[in-house]
């Protein structure tokens, strides 16, 4: 509150105010007139006028407001004007200043000036404007002075130090770029070192002194030079320490818009489409998400298909089977582009390299094989496990992957065939690696998930389940993890709070390993197979069953989602693989959307009644097939 009081008095004075104002602004300044106007316009006036001891009489202020709003809505009669004005729950000053910022960011200079004049609010006061200019022009002594003065509003000594460090670091880098090594060294020794306790950071900075050219400095410091965006970035990071009322946080309106869209997406129950960033209407995805009957069936395996995975680009699909082979399918025409033959045991797991050029597969013959996707040849066979290899995952680059076996070993390999690291672990049922490769999850053959820090391979935590864990699935943001248990339960954990947050029910699962998948944009769905041959799709956030897809005659062992292909793939004991393309919101779907929305509205959260929208009336099904 005190902040907004500080800034509610625009410092630029008489020339901004209208003539009618001057009469009252004998000594109270612009702040008083502003609050008068706020009062009269019946906007919520919270505190900004409570300290206004010099407020003129009521009659006076009403008269003032009338003249003011007359200016705002020229040509409107009094009554019409009143209906135009509305109560806003947000302080006018904040709203206007956001608009001012937006206008300036979009380069509407005249309107910007005009609005400042008309509203009496300024985006930034003189001190802030000067500060901004000094940062962008690289006048660091001035910036430093401004930081230490009160006008900028940086409060504590600690934040001042942090802000100073950012400035000094930039100054240091700019001096290095200009090859003024001596001065740079002085800054590093005398100033930067006193401002932080972060020794590794100081070491990194001092190592930059060795950079022979500005270009190398840029890459080494991940910094784009004084002519690049670096000063903007400095300004942005300094803004963290300046009270938001003084200096409106950067692109504030944009931030609020994106927050609104994110929020709309998170409440969109059938979220499959990326939001179109339409600000006019709320985002909502059409329903249903998958055609309940229509699907493409891929036949090629001679035995049960146990695992399926889309390539990173979504153009190919790889399947692993009990028939000891893997098959690579093209999504464009659903043809077989490669058959990976060589394993002497069933293949239960495979993983695409991030580049999509290699596949590594794990088998009960106790080996892993690295395959060239293009030629279908084995590039390398990895022997080292003494029991069935349960799982394998790539480690970010295209050179290393990790495997876990029933033999109580977790091994890090490189593609040349070398064992880089081996750790003793419990017997491994499944492993998962976060996209940024910081986190390793291992499900043991009992009932716990072990969380490791992947860089150091140290145990962080253990999640306990009530039954044996059959498989593990990690969301792409590594926030959520799904455990599939032998007792048929499917649990979702929030890895941030290390708490079980959701349970998904409805599917049938016994002794066999069924692997589920996150699906949809932002991983909003959870898809899992069932021993009755149906694929279940739930909403991750509500746990509500969205649909059951019937296409297989036997157990669905695994599924995979690709946002690039916008489809789900399922692998089944019936030796086939099915592809379920998601809707993209074609216009012809819209009619269905409304019908289904009506259904959804009446259905409660219980799993039995939530079948209603999924099963749907039969005529719906036909129109849906037509849409695809």
């Amino acid at each position: 509150m005190t902040l907004s009081l500080d800034v509610s008095s625009p410092p630029t004075n008489s020339e901004i105010q209208g003539e009618d104002m001057i009469a009252t602004t004998s000594n109270s300044g612009a702040g008083a007139t502003d609050s008068n106007r706020l009062q009269a316009l019946s906007s919520p006036t919270n505190g900004s006028n409570s300290n206004n001891g010099t407020s003129p009489s009521d009659a006076r202020s009403v008269g003032l407001a009338d003249t003011n709003s007359l200016k705002r809505y020229p040509g409107l009669a009094q009554e019409a004007r009143r209906t135009c004005l509305r109560d806003s729950q947000f302080p006018e000053e904040q709203v206007v200043r956001l608009i001012l910022q937006e206008l300036r960011d979009r380069g509407f200079a005249d309107t910007f000036e005009q609005l400042q004049k008309e509203s009496g609010y300024t985006l930034e006061d003189e001190a802030i404007a000067q500060f901004r200019n000094s940062v962008l022009a690289g006048r660091w002594t001035e910036v430093e002075k401004a930081i230490s003065s009160i006008t900028i509003g940086i409060g504590s000594k600690k934040t001042k130090q942090a802000a100073l460090f950012i400035i000094k670091r930039q100054q240091f880098l700019e001096l290095l770029e200009a090859r003024k090594l001596k001065q740079a060294l002085l800054i590093l020794q005398n100033e930067l070192s006193t401002l932080t306790d972060d020794i590794p950071q100081l070491h990194r900075l001092s190592s930059l002194l060795m950079c022979p050219s500005p270009a190398e400095l840029h890459t080494a410091a991940d910094w784009d030079g004084s002519n690049g965006r670096s000063r903007f970035i400095v300004l942005e990071s300094l803004q963290k320490y300046i009270p938001p009322g003084k200096m409106v946080p950067i692109h504030r309106m944009e931030t609020l818009y994106s927050q609104a869209i994110t929020q709309q997406c998170s409440t969109c129950e059938h979220h499959v489409c990326s939001p179109e960033n339409n600000l006019y209407i709320d985002h909502k995805c059409p329903q249903p998400i998958f055609p309940p009957e229509l699907q493409i069936s891929l036949e090629g395996h001679s035995d049960e298909v146990w695992y399926v995975a889309f390539s990173p680009d979504g153009q190919y699909l790889a399947s692993a089977s009990r028939d000891k082979t893997c098959i690579i399918w093209s999504i464009a025409d659903y043809s077989i582009v490669g058959r990976l033959e060589g394993h002497e045991g069933e293949v239960s797991y495979l993983a695409w390299s991030p580049s999509g050029k290699y596949i590594v597969s794990a088998s009960s013959d106790k080996t892993l094989r690295l395959w060239d996707v293009e030629t279908g040849e084995t590039l390398q066979t990895f022997t080292g496990h003494t029991e069935t290899v349960a799982s394998c995952r790539w480690l970010g680059d295209n050179d290393r992957f990790i495997s876990g076996g029933m033999d109580q070993k977790i091994i890090v390999w490189n593609t040349k065939g070398y064992m880089l690291k081996q750790i003793a672990s419990p017997r491994v049922h499944d492993i998962a690696v976060s996209v940024d490769c910081s986190l390793l999850l291992v499900a043991d053959d009992k009932s716990s998930v072990h969380m490791y820090d992947l860089a150091t391979l140290t145990l962080i935590d253990k999640l306990e389940e009530p039954a044996v864990i059959m498989s593990l699935t990690l969301s792409s943001d590594a926030r959520y993890c799904i455990t599939e248990l032998r007792n048929g339960e499917l649990h979702m954990w929030d890895l941030e709070s290390r708490a079980r947050v959701r349970e998904f029910t409805g599917h049938i699962q016994g002794n066999y390993v069924i692997r589920c998948a996150f699906a949809g944009y932002d991983d909003l769905f959870v898809a899992a197979g069932s021993e009755d041959g149906q694929l279940f799709v739930w909403n991750r956030n509500t746990g509500r069953l969205l649909t059951r897809l019937k296409g297989h005659t036997k157990t669905i062992n695994g599924c995979s989602w690709s946002s690039k292909a916008a489809a789900l793939a399922t692998a089944s004991d019936d030796k086939t693989i099915s592809i379920w393309p998601a809707y993209h919101g074609a216009p012809s779907d819209m009619a269905d959307t409304e019908k289904h929305t009506a259904n959804t509205a009446t259905s409660s959260m219980s799993s039995s009644s939530s079948f209603v929208p999924a099963a749907g009336p039969s005529d719906d099904d036909q129109s849906m097939s037509a849409a695809v």
């Binding site: 049960e304 146990w306 695992y307 009990r322 069933e346 239960s348 009960s364 029991e387 069935t388 349960a390 029933m406 017997r427 049922h429 053959d445 044996v468 059959m470 002794n511 066999y512 390993v513 069924i514 021993e531 157990t555 062992n557 004991d573």
Partner: protein, 115 residues
């Protein structure tokens, strides 16, 4: 069927497949040692692990007609015994849901038990 994780039994007295050492049963789960299989002596067990099931079939045995399913080792796919689905003779009903393992085909992988 689907993919199964191999189960590893712990403790003393663990029977395994003699050709691939895959664990099959615990000695503690033995209900009776007085059985005869296709290859000689056999044991009746209340529980086994790591086996895959064959088709159901009707078989005439010394104790009467039963519906059984052959079971084989998950690791090497070799025949190891059978399980009783249904016994037509009422006195034999107790065998339903239990398993026969052939002693010739299994051995004790923890090796503390001489038979």
């Amino acid at each position: 069927m689907g993919y199964m994780h191999k189960v590893f039994l712990s403790g003393k007295g663990v029977y395994g497949c003699s050709s691939c050492e895959t664990h099959l049963a615990k000695r503690d789960d033995i209900t009776s040692r007085h059985y005869t299989g296709q290859y000689g002596r056999a044991v009746l067990l209340s529980n086994v692990v790591n086996v895959i099931y064959g088709e159901e079939e009707k078989r005439a045995m010394t104790t009467g007609v039963h519906i059984v399913r052959d079971i084989s080792c998950m690791g090497c796919k070799k025949y190891v015994g059978w399980t009783y689905i249904k016994a037509y003779v009422p006195e034999q009903r107790f065998k339903e849901g239990q398993f026969i393992l052939e002693r010739e085909i299994i051995h004790d992988v923890s090796r503390d038990w001489d038979y």
